[in-house]
């Protein structure tokens, strides 16, 4: 086994064997995975073509062989995230409201795991297979529950708009946390400031706002999300037919 001794110096005219292949070849998947890593660590603002390229030890121009522009990269990132959403079991006509809520909650949780990724879905209609599988399932649940064809067709659009918008708003508030501070602490402090501001308003001009400060400030992001979901789905149940 002496010939395996890697420590023995090579004669100068022999170039050393290839160094570790540190740079795997570029590919669309690799670019998307790298962009998602940056998104999760630093938010969508940090995802620039230049930054992704730098992470892959290349120049920004190299990415354009695999992705036609930044817009397409963002779409691919969203579709990848949509793949994390768990689809519930068979639609159960008796439990359609609870099943619909459960799916919405999962969409919400998955979106929030990836910072402000929802900026993408709020700006474009997602058309990838993973995203379509989620809306297909939502349609199935609503139709099983007896929601009319037209109400289901519109409701799916409205429900996704709501879930996306809420996740977007929340993630933006989180990402304003200065680095090094715990997000919870910063959020508590931020809402404390808003509360003081509301309390300091002139009560003659803003009587309801001042009077209702406790109710306006009550409840965390999850509680508020749940309340809006409740409103939408309760409203939708008026459109069921036997």
């Amino acid at each position: 086994m002496r010939s395996d001794d890697g420590e023995f110096p090579l004669p100068p005219w022999r170039t050393p064997p290839k160094r570790k292949p540190v740079k795997p070849p570029l590919s669309q998947d690799l670019i998307v995975a790298t962009a998602l890593r940056i998104l999760d660590a630093e938010g969508l603002e940090a995802v620039s073509m230049r930054r992704v390229a730098q992470e892959l030890e290349t120049g920004p121009a190299s990415l354009y062989a695999h992705v036609s522009n930044k817009e397409e990269l963002l779409d691919l990132m969203f579709e990848e995230v949509a793949g994390e959403i768990t689809l519930p079991g068979e639609p159960d006509p008796e439990r359609w409201q609870e099943q619909l809520k459960e799916l919405c909650r999962d969409v919400w949780r998955v979106l929030l795991r990836h910072r402000d990724i929802t900026r993408v879905s709020l700006a474009n209609i997602p058309t990838g297979p993973n995203a379509l599988a989620v809306s297909e399932r939502m349609l199935a649940i609503m139709r099983a529950g007896g929601v009319s064809r037209q109400a289901a067709g519109w409701a799916i659009d409205r429900i996704f708009l709501y879930v996306n918008a809420d996740a977007y708003e929340l993630s933006l508030q989180f990402s304003k946390t200065p680095p090094g501070v715990e997000p919870e602490k910063h959020m508590a402090q931020f809402f404390g400031q808003i509360r003081s501001f509301f309390e300091s308003l002139p009560p003659d001009r803003f009587p309801y706002t001042v009077d209702m400060v406790p109710e306006l400030m009550n409840g965390d992001g999850e509680r508020r999300f749940e309340f809006g979901l409740e409103l939408l789905i309760a409203g939708l149940s008026a459109f069921t037919e036997p």
Copy 2:
């Protein structure tokens, strides 16, 4: 009156009187008004500190004497837009649902008049007097209608989120219109493409989506906005107390 003859040449050692004061002095109001003009004409993307400065025939650094950063400029722009919202008359307990809807529709119309300005309100909690006057009035309407304190407190947040998110989504779709094309024509074409795409999906994997294409694509932006508003306010009426 011979001394008034402005055409008579001045001797070279006399500098001519000040030219037209083409450049009014900078001020926060002027900066905000200029930024709003650019927003209305070209969308929020075109509103850069450099572009606003250029429009005012100065350099970007000059703006920072009147506005602490771009974020503040955007907030001021939103507050200005919020001033265009018409507040309805006295809250009428019998008509609270219709009054609330009417106010929401007006907010929606005003927001849509100013392109993607809602990106600002979706990212920040508006705290200017104009914006607060709108939410104060909404609280008054809901309380007059007998909506419980906590439901009203949460509902206002959810309703604004919905109205803002819908206006944002719509305005982004509009602003993708290539310059020179009528927006209506472009939108019709765009939705035609989405429709064909949905129709071309494999029916075994996406049976509901394929089957429900007519319902999914039916209705314009206003109709869809109205449907979501209907859901929210119908849901809210379950939280009234005498």
